[in-house]
């Protein structure tokens, strides 16, 4: 019998209610994520890729506005339906998030050191030396001058440095699972490469599992072990990255890959998803 994966999600569903209208944002989402693995979730906006990751730790509005069904087990412990007090011990400590826009996700009125230390103070009251933990977290993300950065406010840092600070914050409590929601979308390609290299190194060193939400297939190809493609709240394709990217079985996946312009392969016209999905 194989051992249980670190994170096991089964038939996860998210439904939003507003007045008499209900919107199914995700349905039938199932996947396994083992320690040290990277699973990429790709899809267009509105496909349910972010919503299903937020549902894992109750980061969505409470019922009746939003109803989460199904099961998500972290090391065998059920997360869906868990009470708020227990969830807040999971959030940040076992499952940490980094979001797309570091500029808006960081609190502008506190310095970086305080914000990284906050998670440490909350989850590790036993930790005597918070400052040392903050410095270690900043060193983990390869910041050369941790003392200066810890005393800086978000607006004093570049986008790349802000994103590193966000990652440091997520790593400060050594989570088992890191959810990276479009971690490089707002960044330049050179900074993007630095951040992705950094995540790859941290994952290898700490055997951390990463759930990578993105729409950049280039990043998926070079970084993820497995990939799942979502459309309208459902997983349409799931498999090893090389297989899905090399020979996609689903028309939608094929269309999504076909419409991306690639360097050195100039075409007269870009293929659109609509053309690709038209019945032939």
């Amino acid at each position: 019998m194989s051992s249980e994966p670190l994170l096991q999600v089964r038939d996860l569903g998210v439904t939003f209610r507003s007045g008499s209208r209900t919107t199914v944002a995700a349905t039938g989402v199932s996947f396994d994520l083992g320690a040290g693995e990277v699973l990429a979730v790709v899809g267009e906006s509105g496909s349910g890729k972010s919503v299903s990751s937020l549902a894992l730790t109750g980061l969505l509005p409470p019922p009746p506005a939003c109803v989460v069904t199904g099961s998500a087990k972290l090391s065998g412990v059920e997360l869906i339906g868990m009470d708020e007090a227990s969830l807040s011990r999971v959030r940040g400590r076992r499952i940490a998030y980094i979001f797309q826009e570091p500029g808006t996700s960081l609190n502008p009125v506190y310095d970086i050191g305080f914000q990284i230390g906050e998670a440490v103070r909350l989850h590790r009251p036993d930790k005597k030396d918070v400052a040392a933990a903050v410095r270690r977290a900043l060193e983990d993300v390869r910041i050369d001058d941790p003392g200066r950065v810890a005393r800086s406010y978000p607006h004093e840092l570049s986008g790349g440095m802000q994103q590193r600070a966000m990652i440091a914050m997520a790593l400060a409590c050594r989570p088992d699972v890191l959810v990276a929601d479009e971690p490089t979308t707002a960044l330049d390609v050179t900074i993007q490469k630095e951040i992705m290299d950094l995540l790859a190194r941290i994952r290898a060193e700490k055997r951390m599992a990463i759930l990578l939400i993105t729409h950049n297939f280039g990043i998926v190809a070079s970084f993820a072990d497995h990939v799942q493609v979502m459309r309208n709240g459902r997983i349409v394709e799931h498999g090893r990255t090389a297989e899905v990217m090399g020979s996609p079985r689903d028309d939608y996946t094929r269309g999504l890959i076909a419409c991306i312009p690639r360097l050195g392969q100039r075409r007269r016209r870009l293929t659109t998803l609509r053309e690709e999905l038209r019945p032939r």
Binding site: V189, I191, K193, G218, A221, S222, P261, R269, T272, L273
Partner: protein, 267 residues
């Protein structure tokens, strides 16, 4: 000797410097921030010149300087034979019609409080004051059809549209005054890849049917390679390299361009 036709836009030694204030009044002011510093290029009529570079490279500022959204410290912006930097506000007015801009963020660049008709007819009221309301309505309807939306969309507000549809509205607004040159400032960076392909194709179709000229600013090298006839690579306010896309992006001469290309994940 064969005479080359006059380019639609010629930028010579353009500089945009922003003064930096001293931290205290008795201290000397620090050196000005040189956002753009000595940039020269030409944009031939009917062609697309792509500008790539990291954030802070001055690529957007260069585009903004052309339509007076950034102050020109030095240099000449020659549009169809006329130096725009020498013109006063009245003299520049007709060029606001000839040169239009499409912005990156379709969520923030459309007025949320007016309907699509209001958004599209505002430039018409300014630049075609003699036009009647019914003329403007039929014109706006035609504009929407041109970007693959329908006349029914005229009464809707921006929030009722998806990101890709909003960007189409932004394009229709730019087209409303029949411009010759459009400055596209990261027009597809905020869009999903599937929507990106549709908007890029639309821009290329419009270029062909209307004979438009584009200054296309972006950070996605593959998109720039796809749309451009000529590429400028910018870093720290200067052009480090320029030429046809196949030579710049396949066989770059400069270390900076090589580094930029090496950072693009391939698949």
């Amino acid at each position: 000797m064969k005479e080359t036709p006059r380019p639609l836009l010629e930028v010579r030694d353009l500089a945009v410097h922003y003064p930096v204030r001293a931290p205290w009044f008795f201290l000397p002011a620090p050196a000005p921030k040189k956002a753009v510093d000595g940039v020269s290029f030409t944009v031939p009529r009917g062609k697309t010149v792509g500008v790539v570079g990291e954030s802070g490279s001055g690529k957007s500022t260069t585009g903004k300087a052309v339509i007076r959204l950034a102050p020109v410290t030095r240099g000449a912006i020659v549009y169809d034979g006329t130096d725009l930097t020498a013109l006063g506000a009245d003299g520049f007015h007709p060029y606001r019609k000839k040169i239009q801009m499409i912005f990156q963020d379709p969520y923030n660049s459309l007025n949320p409080r007016t309907d699509v008709f209001g958004i599209l007819s505002e430039p018409l009221e300014i630049h075609f004051p003699g036009m009647s309301r019914s003329e403007r309505e039929s014109r706006c309807e035609a504009l929407l059809k041109g970007v693959q939306l329908t006349g029914d969309d005229l009464r809707k507000h921006p929030h009722e549209f998806s990101g890709g549809q909003r960007q189409r509205i932004g394009i229709a607004r730019a087209l409303a005054v029949q411009p010759e040159l459009i400055i596209c400032d990261e027009p597809v960076s905020a869009l999903d890849v599937s929507v990106q392909a549709e908007v890029v194709n639309l821009l290329q179709d419009l270029q062909e049917s209307l004979g438009l000229t584009y200054l296309f600013i972006g950070h996605d090298l593959a998109v720039i390679e796809h749309v451009s006839d000529h590429v400028l690579v910018m870093n720290a306010g200067r052009i480090v390299e320029q030429g046809p896309p196949e030579s710049i992006l396949q066989d770059p001469k400069e270390e900076y361009t090589r580094r930029l290309l090496a950072a693009v994940p391939r698949f």
